[in-house]
Symmetry: C2
């Protein structure tokens, strides 16, 4: 079976039909496309760029395998000469991009591709697919991290992520945004992300006595067991843990903590904390889970819920309150001439652009300027060259360093943008005079 | 790189830590787990079961490869004996399930696994992941199909689906639910789903003159070109199509239609239809796209928008208004004893269950009964044996026949459930006396 994550056939049919027409009409000059989000979801004051590493991997590995070429030749949609051209197609272009973990806003390109038109066009669908997903989750994860900066946050969402790639992307993007760990085993194997876990209700239910389930699990995982105490009655579960702790301690086994997954989490945490403390189990941690997101985290912390860690599942992995971004990959220049889509409500800024960021005296974000790459604008230029001639300019940075960079990016967010609700004023992104003038010239050429 | 779609490491860490404890304590008797949705999203009156075929593929192929075993042995979390046990682990259990395409409701199991505890437990995370995604999209797609039963609906959502597997699942699940086609090329290669496509704004923008872009695309794809007319000005675009049509006809080339992707789609469609008709292009179809979903479809059709087909993208592929389902896979019996989770707000019905469906005289769904497998209940039993001893009982049905079955299922929906808004009364799912009695007995055993 063809691997969908790698295959250039994971694309929209029109990319291939357009390619055929590009080849037939020698439209193979340099095209410049930019990826940006047209409008932030109402529930987002900022976004966190992610997915670049997978885009670069995809571009470096782009090729049609014999099985794919054979199918294209047989599917009845294309001329034989076109399939022959595809056989030798590789990505030979240049890419500039914001580093993963960069905070960005509407209309700001986070990635620019400059490549011969057929190559730049073909990669659109998958490139959008990769950047959209990881940016979506990193942005959601960052909101959780900003809400609970001192707590242990863990990605618990694999089972309801939208498929295998989404689960892996969610583990990576949330870790990048500051999560401490994930429950997804393959994410540790592939990305080196720490994994943690507790136990499921089924383990408790498989025993006639809850105590026995706790004892067996703790003995199997000495020092590392987090016992799930809400299968039947959370309070009774907590008392059982207190009763068992000395017996286990006599065997040299320390229980790490308890998890509560249902009921009034704040009230239950308080009662359980009191039971554990009164029973000499002060060092046991309390982990909470169950339909948590940044809003719920905020409520729990505002109520001084005595929890040490939180498993954030479905709401993180599907970005429940904003499950998609209005992101696009648009042609801004072809054959050296700036281009502009003028569709009603969907007009774009033409030309090769750069984002210039300004900080205030305290190091907080104060304003961005959307300008042209060759403008002499002040501020830090956020898009950097990452690929030239189809090859990466540097090896992929370690995920840990991306995570630290993202942490510094989040630390520079002004308070209004950190709020979970809408910022009073959107963050200022000014369009440079040079860019406005170019847009006017492009429009005039169509008048 | 390990293939995430196949790997048993795409699971939650606790599945493996529980397995270690199951093995150490000889908890290997038969466990019965059921997958069901606890509560429908507010925006859904029914759901459509999908994903079973991929679950069966996953179960049949379940094994730890040498690379996976080697990593598990080295990761420092498990004892060597456990990794040895995993090496020989296969899925040897039985599965009963509702056929893909079956309409179902809250609390109704759509799949039951009966297998030795470690096997039944291990597969939880991925099994939920697969059933959740495809059921989510099939259910969203069915709402679109019910809203626009006579229109050509096409999945356009690959680029903003949550990753590669989600894009493939969306193409399949929406087709199963009655969509006519997808734009995702790999879905035709893998599943035989028809693909269609139009052209992108970039193709138009790459030309100095829109006319030239239209001519070249039509000549490259004679008989099959759908021209995108909203890049600069939709009305002028429509006039250009009318002007070009006779020139192309003289070359023996028929344009198939036009696409409009922005602006007031209803008003634009009317004006464009009038221009095409007045210009002798009555046979040209109008396709619409741009943030469409079942609600927008309903508005457009209520306003008699003269469109022939619709591209439904992001909102379908991420199930925008309800991006997740509250679905679970719960232990209902172990070692012959019925089990019940009693967590606050998350209690389950114990035992091996069956769903019995009743139709009214007109063949419409009238009521379901949630009962025990061995109850002599009337109505059609919806869960059927599909796997025994780890092997499928029959080859996978053709996707076309699943699609026809789903179409009959949707045809049997009463009007209240077809509505896009909440049904006045939820569909009646009665709990049988036998099941209530069993639940009471299980509770009493814990008193």
């Amino acid at each position: 079976m063809i691997d969908a994550e790698r295959s250039p056939l994971l694309t929209d049919l029109y990319q291939l039909t357009m390619l055929e027409a590009y080849f037939e009409n020698d439209l193979e000059q340099t095209a410049v496309f930019e990826f940006f989000v047209r409008r932030l979801p109402d529930q987002r004051n900022f976004l966190v760029a992610a997915g670049l590493e997978h885009v670069l991997e995809f571009l470096e590995g782009l090729r049609f395998d014999p099985e794919e070429l054979d199918w294209l030749a047989r599917c009845g949609k294309f001329k034989p000469g076109f399939v022959d051209r595809l056989a030798s197609l590789r990505f030979t272009g240049d890419v500039d991009a914001m580093p993963e973990g960069t905070v960005f806003f509407a209309d700001e390109p986070i990635l620019r591709v400059a490549a011969p038109m057929p190559e730049a066009q073909l990669v659109e669908s998958r490139l959008v697919n990769l950047l959209h997903l990881q940016t979506l989750i990193a942005s959601k994860g960052a909101r959780c991290v900003l809400t609970a900066p001192d707590k242990v946050l863990v990605d618990f969402g694999m089972r309801r992520a939208h498929g295998a790639e989404a689960a892996m992307a969610a583990a990576r993007a949330s870790y990048l945004a500051g999560f401490a760990a994930t429950a997804t085993v393959l994410a540790e194997q592939r990305f080196g992300i720490p994994t943690v876990g507790t136990m499921a209700h089924s383990f408790v239910q498989a025993h006639d006595e809850e105590e026995q389930a706790f004892l067996r699990f703790a003995r199997c995982h000495p020092g590392n067991a987090v016992l799930l105490i809400d299968t039947y009655d959370t309070i009774r579960g907590a008392h059982k843990v207190v009763e068992l702790a000395p017996r286990l301690a006599a065997e040299g086994i320390q229980v790490r903590g308890v998890r509560i997954d249902s009921g009034d989490l704040c009230e239950m945490s308080r009662e359980v904390r009191a039971i554990l403390d009164a029973g000499g189990c002060r060092e046991l941690k309390i982990f909470l889970s169950g339909s948590l997101d940044e809003y719920r985290l905020g409520e729990l912390l505002a109520a001084d819920t005595p929890a040490d860690g939180f498993g954030i599942g479905t709401h993180l992995d599907v970005s429940q309150d904003a499950p998609s971004l209005d992101c696009v990959y648009k042609l801004q220049e072809y054959a050296g001439v700036a281009r502009r889509k003028r569709s009603s409500g969907k007009a774009t800024w033409p030309g090769r652009k750069q984002v210039f960021r300004h900080l205030d005296a305290a190091g907080q974000l104060s304003a961005d300027v959307l300008g042209l790459v060759d403008e002499k604008a002040s501020g830090r230029a956020l898009l950097e060259p990452v690929m030239a001639g189809g090859r990466r300019l540097a090896p992929a940075p370690a995920l840990e360093s991306v995570r630290e960079y993202c942490s510094r990016q989040l630390a520079a967010l002004p308070d209004a943008l950190r709020a979970l609700g809408p910022a009073g004023e959107p963050y200022p992104v000014r369009v440079s005079d040079g860019l406005k003038a170019l847009a006017a010239r492009v429009d005039a050429s169509f008048a």
